[in-house]
Symmetry: C2
Subunit: 455 residues, 2 copies
Amino acid sequence: MAKPQRVIVVGGVAAGMSAASQVRRRRPQAAVTVLERGDHISYGACGMPYNIEDPARPIEDLVVLSVDEARSKRGIDLRLRHEVTEIDLAAGTVTAVDRAAGGERREPFDALVIATGARALRLPLPGFELPGVHVLRDLGDGAALKAALERGPRRAVVIGAGYIGMEMAHVLTARGLAVTVLERLPQLLPGWDPESVARVDEVLGAHGVERRTGVTVEAAEPGPDGRVAAVVTDAGRFEAELVLVAAGVRPNAELAAAAGLRIGDSGAIWVNQSQQASHEAVWAAGDCAEAYHRVLRRNAWVPLGTTANKQGRIAGANITGAAERFRGIVGTAGFVVFELEVARSGIGEEEARREGFDPVSVTIRQRSRAHGYPGGSPVQVRLVADRETGLLLGGEIVGREGAALRANILAAGLAAHMTVSDIQGLDLAYAPPFAPVWDPVLVAANQLAKEVAAP
Amino acid sequence: MAKPQRVIVVGGVAAGMSAASQVRRRRPQAAVTVLERGDHISYGACGMPYNIEDPARPIEDLVVLSVDEARSKRGIDLRLRHEVTEIDLAAGTVTAVDRAAGGERREPFDALVIATGARALRLPLPGFELPGVHVLRDLGDGAALKAALERGPRRAVVIGAGYIGMEMAHVLTARGLAVTVLERLPQLLPGWDPESVARVDEVLGAHGVERRTGVTVEAAEPGPDGRVAAVVTDAGRFEAELVLVAAGVRPNAELAAAAGLRIGDSGAIWVNQSQQASHEAVWAAGDCAEAYHRVLRRNAWVPLGTTANKQGRIAGANITGAAERFRGIVGTAGFVVFELEVARSGIGEEEARREGFDPVSVTIRQRSRAHGYPGGSPVQVRLVADRETGLLLGGEIVGREGAALRANILAAGLAAHMTVSDIQGLDLAYAPPFAPVWDPVLVAANQLAKEVAAP
């Protein structure tokens, strides 16, 4: 492929701006245009819950690279409020509508990066268009939620008990609201180990968060002021002046699908490990794209900011002629809810079973610091491995301190396809203020080794 | 080899008690005798500095398993104040002197575990036998130092700026003493990267610790009360009512050497990865023994509590017929000095050069938390890799929070012989309260990738 000179990037948040910056850095003579349909670029969306916790911090604090910097320092032709409506692969053009000034233009490209992200699911139920019903996906959502909190709502309902739901239950409680979390499935954090969930549930309860699982939401109801006043479910009516729908996200893959690009089984854009889509001039990265999963050994869709940044960087490098490979995800994710750090890597026991493994697991609790050292707290570690081969499949870590960073041990182990015995043999850092002589991860591995045929 | 019924363990601290307990757990009918020359068993020696920091905590808090528990619950024939003076491999006996009751006895063994530990270097210089001069190695040393602090010394000199020296500079300062650290070599923490050392040096200085490097100690001088009053060096005289010699340790390998067992180049007892010494009925574990080093790909001597526990466990298991292998160390170590966590894994740049690698390195600073998230602090990461192959050789991490646990990422990477590119590709946990979207370890790897031929 000739080295492209005209690069168009659709979407200017994490993946898109990483790709655009990487192209410019490696090939300063390339013309790089970023078409972003929103008003903001390059922000840390994952930081929104934590930003919302602090009324004094403007949401714009989350912007990593300003529009001016992107234009002047990085030399990127950055167009806000430009929505791409069509990709013509045969012609090598995109059609973009200027939502501010009006008008539409076709732009030719030698290389195209699709970084259109994902969108929050909205509930197609009566009343969910009412003022006071929010989602939290882009910076505008965050600003709107923050403004809504200034109105002084007293009660909130959070619909969905995934990462965002858990973080926001904490944040809204910290902002002084009485919070109820409603989850359709039978447990909080669907897909997580019940023992990890029990620990999270306990902490939510201790902070006064009401948790209702197995509840189907039916409608939102307005109050006399026309704003949302309650959520109606099959388990009763929950009053709230603020409702957050945190029921999941979907990849923005329609534009790619309409262009004839391959869509994976996950519904996200199929890519190879070069981040190339099914056309040699098209790359995709971030939440709209699949990612190679090193435990599943195939593509999966796990939209996260870290992956978006890495994939964008690799797409950008490869467009300029590099031969970088996205090494893949292992399913690492983490969040903080009240005083608990919660993190996982790999796949859970149920998912392992669905994938054809014969999983065994243990859950242990061990203090975060050495025997006799004051101030430690229990760290709960769950590990899952394949019975026959001893291969580590995943783990979950929950605790007050050091839990999330310990999940990185598992992330590295999964990347290297370590067995339980390999984990047992790790030479981990030890000093009484930050770890016991047998780190909780090693204690769990020692336990699990007894359950596998080939440790 | 027939399954041994009479197991003798020489030394009852970490490695010895791990081995003894493991034998009893796996083969309850085995007769296990532990001969410990001191008064204590099974204590966390690494916790001593942190225990000494708190005058209210008895040093015995560090004991993990009491003598009674070892005897009654684990069924171990535990003999304190029994010093083994000879091992006769041909006869299959040890000779032990009962230092309390007097008398000596020969005891037959089918399997022998040597877990004699290491000893603190004492300086063969005038005055170093004075009261007020201490080392910190066994629980008795800790008790003596703690008692000495009760006398209200105002000034301390710490000789040696390794891990113990650094920890004790912090602890003695916290106990209200004015502390001077004297180091013979030109820098604190010999063998560490100067940029890591600079950060530690800065923190010591901020807490009022005087640091003098390149100083040769010549003598200790008594005061009018006959206790130590000063340390005399080629750079002047340093007054101190308390002197701690933290000038290193040596393996207690003489007993093994006298029995004709192979001693490694390091001066410690040679072992294979089954923890077997050079005689099929003899195992060695802990600070008296070498350990297979996975980066150097040969035995080395890096005495640490974590290794002692693992090696003891494996020796015990193998004595009962298991076929466990000690996977090896990678040189992980960590400590806390004032508000800094300091940790390393692998080998440093100088050591890499001596070992025949062509090392390249980077040092970066990155915040511990996400962009815009309050309360983070800089984490300094140094990585060293081989230029030609891109193989990760080691790293050092220094920071206020999360530094030590991040070294575990390197420990896992080194165990798996990862390259810089492998590290770049790790799917690490990210959430604003505990990590930026590019973890400091990934930022360092991205930088270092530019320096290696085959990233």
